[in-house]
């Protein structure tokens, strides 16, 4: 069912939704940019539709809304443990088609991998309703079409700004509020059909040969292991446990989990001194293989959704898109 909203009507819709949901969207974070006096497009709770940035790609991915950077698992004291609680409100997140595809990737690891679903992930994931923001044209660095992640059917509603009005295709009318506030009209979401760049993901890569490829030495000499590529990535999911105790009573504290990155020092360090992939190039090889080989071997789809955020975030201008292409060409040549 499609609906048309004026800005005022959409804001009334948001106001009604916010009684039961927190609404997150990419919004302009003033002064948070990389350089002085620049802004950053990132996720925050919104109250009006004008706060949503439609014409730029968010620097951070939407995953931080339902898989927080730091998540309290439980509190402890002398009596034992008490589980952390979550906001009783639901969560509505505005995101792109590729981001929704990335949520499906996160679901694979957090819900399907291992003996059971991840309790803390599932707890927030069950609250999540997704509003896909149409992509009317591709941004720089996007390669979603090459990854087959430029479209999605998995959303509650779509939204795009067209000639001053908001058009929405609704699959699951949350509380019947879209129908209540909108004016019925035919709407189908728009997804990009081509990007400014295309990437050919190589199939049948042979790990031993890939690992022996000298390109990792080259990337290793540039990569500074800052981990930005994994932090902005919508499908990266690794985390580390962290215990803290309170200064005024060290017997009380909490166990948290915080995002971790295979690119950063210490990711594989074990007490006693052993560690793996000490070289930055090896770490990059590990990440690239996960994104375009290992994950698919395990779950049937590539982990990378071609959002290009890693390319935008890298301070050393390393491009995953170029790396994938180059690796494919070189490995094909090596095989003759």
């Amino acid at each position: 069912m499609g609906y048309r909203f004026t800005a005022a009507a959409f804001n009334q819709l948001l106001e009604s939704l916010r009684e039961k949901y927190r609404v997150y969207a990419p919004t302009l974070l003033k002064g948070k940019g990389k350089f002085s006096d620049t802004d950053l497009v990132g996720y925050a709770e919104i109250s009006k539709i004008e706060d949503v940035v439609f014409n730029q790609k968010s620097y951070f991915s939407p995953k931080e809304t339902f898989y927080p950077v730091t998540q309290r698992l439980f509190y402890f004291n002398e009596n034992g443990f008490s589980e952390s609680v979550v906001d009783e409100k639901g969560m509505i997140v505005f995101l792109r088609a590729c981001d929704i595809q990335a949520v499906e990737r996160l679901d694979k690891i957090m819900l399907e991998n291992g003996p059971s679903a991840d309790y803390y992930y599932e707890r927030l994931r069950n609250k999540l309703k997704m509003i896909v923001m149409d992509c009317q044209e591709s941004f720089d660095s996007c390669f979603c079409v090459s990854m087959g992640t430029n479209k999605t059917e998995n959303y509650s509603a779509s939204v795009r700004l067209e000639n001053g009005v908001y058009l929405s295709d609704v699959k699951e009318d949350i509380e019947g509020l879209f129908a209540f506030h909108g004016e019925t009209i035919e709407v189908s979401p728009k997804f990009v059909e081509s990007n400014k760049q295309s990437v050919k993901v190589p199939e049948n890569l042979v790990l031993e040969s890939v690992a022996a490829n000298p390109i990792w030495e080259e990337y290793g000499s540039r990569c500074i292991a800052c981990g930005r590529c994994t932090v902005v990535c919508p499908s990266c999911s690794c985390y580390t446990m962290q215990d803290i105790f309170y200064d005024d009573n060290p017997k009380c504290g909490e166990r948290r989990r915080v995002w971790a990155s295979c690119q950063i020092d210490g990711f594989t360090d074990m007490a006693g001194g052993h560690s793996f992939r000490r070289n930055n190039g090896e770490r990059m090889r590990f990440k690239v293989m996960h994104k375009i080989k290992d994950f698919k071997q395990r779950f049937g789809v590539h982990m990378c959704v071609g959002c290009g955020r890693c390319d935008n975030a890298c301070p050393e201008y390393i491009s995953l898109a170029h790396c994938i292409d180059r690796l494919g060409k070189e490995e094909a040549e090596n095989r003759g």
Partner: protein, 273 residues
């Protein structure tokens, strides 16, 4: 909704035995029924959590042999019987004990690598008729690093046990090791050419130790003509969950916490960190 697998349970320390200056074995009150080779996530609230292999288990208890090397193990070291540790698990696959039945089992363990196989050895020590024969090769840095001295002595009554140390140090000499074991100086790899192998097809090997030790020990066995499929190893990796989520132990598409820590060498040798 899934159950909360992250909440640990309390386990009372029933006893604590010193193995070396740094290693202690903790007997913990615990009702779980693990498989030999599995591990637990062990924690001290406020300090942290880490994976530790189960070195032995029995009715109502498990044992873990823990070396004081990091923050959590440093905290554990201060605990005494009557104190509590916090556990979740068991995790991982463990050793496929039945594939060793009626075979000639050779166990090669380096340093703390003896801990995860201790329960395998005890299993067959209690049921020696299940094996054709058993050789236990162990290697430690110095005589002062030898673990499970009493057990080595006990096992040597039934199986052939060899203990080698990399070097003698000023405080230790080989006399500290039970007399019933064959004692040498040198690397564990040097013991392998001398292992008597009456029938190559019947040999099954378990190798556990530091990565370099496992690599070269496996090579020695391959040199003796063993098939890769006849060798098992156990990996050690950083892990934050044990549940296939945190990503720390991933190698290629394999999660050590799920598909391991025990791997057949045919697979293990293809895993590239």
């Amino acid at each position: 909704m899934a159950k909360n697998s992250y909440l640990p349970f309390k386990a009372k320390i029933l006893a604590k035995y010193q193995q070396t200056e740094l290693d202690w074995t903790y007997r913990l009150e615990c009702q779980i029924q693990p498989i030999a080779g599995q591990f637990m996530e062990v924690s001290l609230p406020g300090v942290g959590e880490c994976p530790i292999s189960i070195s032995d288990f029995g009715d109502g208890y498990i044992e873990m042999t823990i070396r004081r090397v990091g923050q959590v193990t440093g905290g554990i070291d201060k605990l005494v019987p009557g104190d509590y540790l916090f556990l979740r698990g068991p995790y991982g696959n463990g050793f496929p004990l039945e594939s060793f039945y009626d075979k000639h089992l050779i166990i090669a363990a380096g340093g703390t690598g003896l801990a995860p196989v201790k329960s395998v050895i005890n299993y067959f020590y209690a049921r020696p008729e299940l094996l054709q024969r058993c050789d236990i090769l162990t290697g430690f840095k110095t005589p002062n690093d030898v673990l499970f001295k009493c057990d080595l002595d006990k096992w040597a009554q039934t199986f052939r046990v060899e203990v080698t140390v990399d070097k003698l140090d000023e405080f230790g000499n080989l006399e500290v090791i039970a007399n019933s074991c064959s004692r040498r100086t040198g690397l564990i790899t040097a013991l392998i050419p001398d292992v008597e192998i009456p029938s190559l097809e019947d040999v099954r090997v378990i190798i556990v130790g530091p990565p370099v030790m496992m690599k070269f020990t496996a090579q020695e066995f391959l040199c003796r003509g063993l098939a890769k499929e006849s060798i098992w190893v156990s990996f050690e990796r950083k892990m934050s969950c044990g549940l296939g989520k945190c990503g720390h132990c991933k190698i290629d598409e394999t999660y050590v916490c799920l598909e391991g820590p025990v791997f057949n060498f045919a697979q293990a040798q293809t895993l590239l960190d």
